[in-house]
Every structure is written in structure tokens, then in C-alpha cells.
């Protein structure tokens, strides 16, 4: 579905991403992990062409991304921002309607089809009942759902999530991830999620991409990527990796500095 061919990107002098090559298949749930500054957010921004790589190509169903208009891209790929505050607060329904923008072009007003799509997106994300409320009155978890709904209103095939569980308590994290998994399994959406939470990535993603200083350090199933050696090498801190007793997926435990708990 998406083909990245030796893609490199820099903001000014230093390369933030170097020679990234990979293929994202339809229906995958991919986690992008790596330390601060390893290029996770940049990677997502390049996938939806908020940034354009200086070298390499991205093909979306064999069409180069750089030959598509931003509107065409927005109909296929939606990104959910970490946080987006509006200077003046809009109502929930107004924010979700903004997701229809790529379909409206120069039209000023949404039609009944747009409203229908928006209602469906709000239904899927469970925010129909708060449609008339103002964004600044909502909790962090509710705001996240509004932006997922806005992304769904774009009718995309791929949704990019940037640190979606940051700032959420564990109840809302599980709620939110359940929603993402159901969009992935039941609606066939491809998900690419950048995350700092390695346990969540291990538990929920089909495939992990581990970035280190702009390069792919390791890519594969959580069992292949989340190992003590790999994580210690990339993050430079000691961890304990065992199996989650319920799911059997790799589980990471942080170790205090100065205690040789890993037995190494």
C-alpha cells in the first residue's frame, strides 16, 4: 500500500531520517518506536507529506506521493495530531466537519452526505452525545476521540497517530486503544502509531519499527524487536524483558540505575 524507497530527510544541516526503506501493507497495525529525537514524528509527517523528503520516494498504491495534491493525499491518509488547540473554541461537530474539507474544495458549506459521514465517524468513536459541546470543555480523552472522528471523516485508508496515549490515564489508554484496534480489525484501516510506551506498542501492534538516530535499527514482530539487547542498545538504559503472563507478548520492566537486576 505504501512503499518507502531509501528516504532521507533533513530540516537544515543534519539528517533526521536516513535511507528509510520499508513497505506498509493494507490493514497492518504498525508501531513506530525509538528514543526522543529518533525521528518518529518526522516519519509520520513525511507519510502525509506535511514534510517532503530531500531524497528517496514514497509510493502510495504505486503513485508517487509528491505527484499528488494535498487534497488527494488527505482523502487517503489522515493524521491525528498530539494536541491541537484552537485560538477560539469550536464545537465538537464543527471540528469533525473540518475532516470533510478535502472533499469540499472551494465549496463553503457541507452537504447532507458530509453530515452523514461525520455522524457515522462520531458514532464509531462514541462522541455523538457530545457533538454540541465546546472543545475547551472536554477532557483529554474526549478531545482525542474528536480528532480520531475528524480523521475518520476524511474517509482515509490509513490513519497516522502521533503519541496518542500520552497524557491519558490507564483507563482512557485502554479505551482508546480498543477503539483503534476495532478500527483496524473491523473497518480495515491501516494504522501507523508513534509511541513512547513500549508495552503498549508490544501489546497492540502487528509490527514494530524501531528507529535510532533516523535509521531503522530493527523492524519486525514485537517478539523480534522488543528484546533486552535491542532495547538496551537503542535506549541506553537497563531494562528487564519477560512475557506478559496474559497475552504472551514481550513486556518491559524498567530497572533503577545502579542496580544490576538484569544479572548482566
Amino acid at each position: 500500500m505504501i512503499d518507502l524507497r531509501s528516504l532521507s530527510f533533513r530540516y537544515r544541516q543534519e539528517w533526521v531520517l536516513k535511507e528509510i526503506s520499508l513497505r506498509i501493507e493494507k490493514g497492518e497495525f504498525i508501531g513506530v518506536i525509538g528514543p526522543n529525537g529518533s525521528g518518529k514524528s518526522t516519519f509520520l509527517k513525511i507519510l502525509c507529506r506535511l514534510l517532503s523528503p530531500q531524497e528517496g520516494d514514497i509510493l502510495l498504491d504505486t503513485v508517487p506521493l509528491k505527484e499528488m495534491t494535498q487534497r488527494e493525499i488527505a482523502k487517503k491518509i489522515a493524521i491525528v495530531p498530539q494536541e491541537a488547540y484552537s485560538l477560539f473554541p469550536f464545537r465538537v461537530i464543527e471540528i469533525v466537519l473540518m475532516g470533510r474539507s478535502p472533499y469540499l474544495g472551494h465549496l463553503l458549506f457541507e452537504g447532507s452526505k458530509d453530515l452523514e459521514m461525520v455522524k457515522r465517524a462520531m458514532d464509531w468513536t462514541g462522541i455523538l452525545s457530545i457533538g454540541e459541546r465546546y472543545m475547551d470543555e472536554l477532557s483529554g480523552g474526549e478531545r482525542k476521540r474528536v480528532f480520531i472522528a475528524r480523521a475518520l471523516a476524511q474517509e482515509p485508508e490509513i490513519i497516522l497517530l502521533d503519541e496518542p496515549t500520552a497524557n491519558l490515564d490507564i483507563h482512557h489508554q485502554v479505551d482508546f486503544l480498543h477503539l483503534i484496534v476495532s478500527l483496524n480489525r473491523d473497518r480495515g484501516l491501516t494504522i501507523v502509531m508513534a509511541s513512547h510506551d513500549l508495552n503498549i506498542a508490544s501489546e497492540y501492534c502487528d509490527r514494530l519499527i524501531l528507529l535510532q538516530e533516523g535509521r531503522i535499527y530493527k523492524m519486525g514482530s514485537p517478539r523480534d524487536v522488543i528484546t533486552r539487547e535491542t532495547i538496551e542498545a537503542v535506549y541506553g538504559c537497563r531494562v528487564w524483558v519477560d512475557e506478559n503472563p496474559i497475552s504472551g507478548m514481550p513486556r518491559i520492566t524498567l530497572l533503577k540505575r545502579g542496580r544490576e537486576g538484569s544479572g548482566a
Binding site: 494535498q70 488527505a74 478535502p102 458549506f109
Partner: protein, 343 residues
């Protein structure tokens, strides 16, 4: 669920237009010579339908050559400053922004003062022309310095504008300090905003800027909503953000330049009318732009009518009235916000 439709925009606009017409009629009736409502309408009717002479020559002259151009100019300037203020608030993502924040006003003041001091400031032509040129130069300078690596960044634009404005203010103060008493009075009145030079030509001069600018901005009003929650957001949803910012900057600045050059620096309108309209009708620019412009038009016509009648025969600068009445009205709206919000 309740969403914005063309019908709602038209309904609100129609109601507010009706209100503008009422205020306009009121301003034509009152003054040193009072004209009855019936006669006012009769004069207007005959004027617009091109009927010949009537017996009420004096009232006709007062209404048609003095009060009507003045009220129409006040209305257009009120509309222009309100739209321009709303745009600058969105463009700079700053609720304190107003049409003068990027120095257009100071540039046009330098032009106006030079015209007055050099003596080619015939109030109906030389002064507006010089002032407009001053404003255009400032728009160009701020635009040039406000861009970085070919992109327009809100904070850099804001800094460039504020600094250019401060520099020009220094020039204004220098000129004020060397002015003679007579010139000083003219300059000060101009700096506080003054509609007494209004004539039919000034109405025709501002009209294309207002209509053209509003048209260009309204076509992009939905995209302006997207930019309120960040440029990346708008870009991701398919908006050509750089183009939108440049067009908004130029349109809002030109509307301001045309307004200021014809009637001086009327403060406050461009700051509080957009906020008031937002409190009443929400932040959606598709409704906000027409609502703010019509509220601004009625507000400034009313303020100017008060300015020329309150202490008659002495005329107050209209800027005094806009601040004195606008401030408390705005505080009232702010306090009512919670109740109004759910409308």
C-alpha cells in the same frame, strides 16, 4: 445536529442588514437640523429613483451631501475594520490583534502628517492619497521583513509589524513636536479618527477595497477556520496555507489602508467588534465575517452620529465615542458569554 448552513448565514445577514438600515436612517434624521422620518425616506426615495426638484431644498442638501456620504463612509469603515480585525486575529493567532497591529495605521499617519505639514493636505484629496501611500509602503516593508525562508510565520510577522509600527510612531512624535498649533489640531483630530471630510467620492474610493477584499476573504472563510487550530492542521486537510496567509494579510491590510486614509485612526472597532461577533455567533468565519462587518457598520454609524450630536455644535472625534461606549458593551458581552454560548 445543529450545523452552519447557507440559510443561517443569509438569515443572520438579513437581520443585521435591516439593523444597519435602521441606524443609517436614524443618523440621517438627527443633527443640528432635525428631519422627520417620513421626509428622510421621501428624500432618499426621490434621490435613488431620480425624481426631480422638490420644495425641501435645505433638508435635501443636508441629507444627501452631508449626512448620507458621512454615514455610508462610517458604515463601510466600520465593516472594513471589523473584517480586517477578525482576519488579523486568525492570521496572527492572537486575540489582541487588531487592524493596526502590523503598523499600517502608523505608516498611513506618517503619510497624512507629511501632507498636512507640507501643505498639500487638501483634506479631500491630498491627505488621503499621501496617507494611502504611507500605508502601502508599510504593508510592503512588514511583508518583506515578516517572511523567513520564504514562509510567513505569525510571530515573526507580528514582531516585524510591531517594530515597524514603533519606528513610525517615533517619526509621528517627532513631527508632532515640531508642528505649529494650527496644524497640530488637524493632526490630532485625524489621529483620533474623523469623518467630517466625508464626501461622495470617499465612499466610491473605499467601496472597491471593501467589496473586493471581503469577496476574496469570504471565498476562503472555511479554510480560515482550519488555520485557527494550527497551520499543520490546515495543511494536512488540503489547504494551501502559505497562499491563504499571504492573501489574508494583503486583503486585510488593504482594507485597513483604504479605511484609515479616508478617516484617520479610529481605534477599538477592529478589536472588539470581531470579538463581540464571535461571542454572539461563534468563531466560524463563514458566519463571523458577514456578522462582524454588519455589526461593525451599525456600530460605527451610531458612534459617529453620537460624535457629531452629543455636544453639538462641537464635534467630538469618533474615536472617543467608540472607546467610551464600545468598552462597557464588550465587558457586558464577556460577562454574558456562558449564557450566549449555547445559542
Amino acid at each position: 445536529m445543529n450545523i452552519l448552513t447557507l440559510k443561517k448565514v443569509l438569515t443572520v445577514s438579513l437581520v443585521l442588514t435591516f439593523f444597519v438600515i435602521l441606524v443609517l436612517l436614524f443618523s440621517l434624521m438627527v443633527g443640528s437640523v432635525r428631519v422627520s422620518p417620513g421626509r428622510t425616506i421621501q428624500v432618499l426615495y426621490q434621490f435613488f429613483l431620480g425624481h426631480g426638484e422638490t420644495e425641501m431644498e435645505m433638508e435635501r442638501t443636508i441629507i444627501l451631501s452631508l449626512r448620507l456620504p458621512r454615514a455610508l463612509l462610517a458604515g463601510m469603515v466600520g465593516a472594513g475594520l471589523s473584517v480586517s480585525g477578525a482576519i488579523f486575529q486568525a492570521l496572527l493567532r492572537n486575540p489582541l490583534a487588531d487592524p493596526y497591529i502590523l503598523g499600517v495605521s502608523s505608516g498611513s499617519a506618517v503619510g497624512a502628517i507629511l501632507a498636512i505639514l507640507l501643505g498639500f493636505g487638501s483634506l479631500s484629496f491630498g491627505l488621503p492619497f499621501a496617507s494611502f501611500v504611507g500605508a502601502l509602503l508599510t504593508i510592503g516593508v512588514v511583508f518583506y521583513f515578516g517572511k523567513q525562508e520564504g514562509r510567513m510565520h505569525p510571530n515573526i510577522l507580528l514582531l516585524a509589524g510591531v517594530i515597524t509600527g514603533s519606528f513610525l510612531s517615533a517619526i509621528i512624535m517627532f513631527f508632532l513636536s515640531i508642528s505649529q498649533k494650527e496644524e497640530l489640531h488637524t493632526i490630532l483630530f485625524w489621529l483620533m479618527g474623523d469623518f467630517s471630510f466625508a464626501n461622495p467620492q470617499s465612499v466610491l474610493i473605499i467601496l472597491p477595497y471593501l467589496a473586493g477584499g471581503f469577496g476574496v476573504l469570504y471565498r476562503r472563510s472555511r479554510h480560515l477556520n482550519l488555520i485557527l487550530s494550527g497551520e499543520e492542521n490546515a495543511h494536512q486537510l488540503g489547504v494551501d496555507v502559505e497562499r491563504l496567509k499571504i492573501l489574508s494579510y494583503l486583503c486585510a491590510s488593504l482594507i485597513t489602508a483604504a479605511s484609515v486614509s479616508l478617516c484617520g485612526l479610529i481605534g477599538f472597532v477592529g478589536l472588539i467588534i470581531p470579538h463581540s461577533a464571535r461571542l454572539l455567533f461563534g468563531p466560524d468565519h463563514r458566519l463571523l465575517l458577514p456578522a462582524a462587518s454588519l455589526i461593525g457598520a451599525s456600530f460605527l454609524i451610531l458612534c459617529d452620529t453620537l460624535a457629531r450630536t452629543l455636544l453639538s455644535p462641537v464635534e467630538l472625534p469618533v474615536g472617543v465615542i467608540t472607546a467610551a461606549f464600545g468598552g462597557p458593551f464588550f465587558i457586558y458581552l464577556l460577562r454574558k458569554r456562558k449564557g450566549v454560548k449555547t445559542l
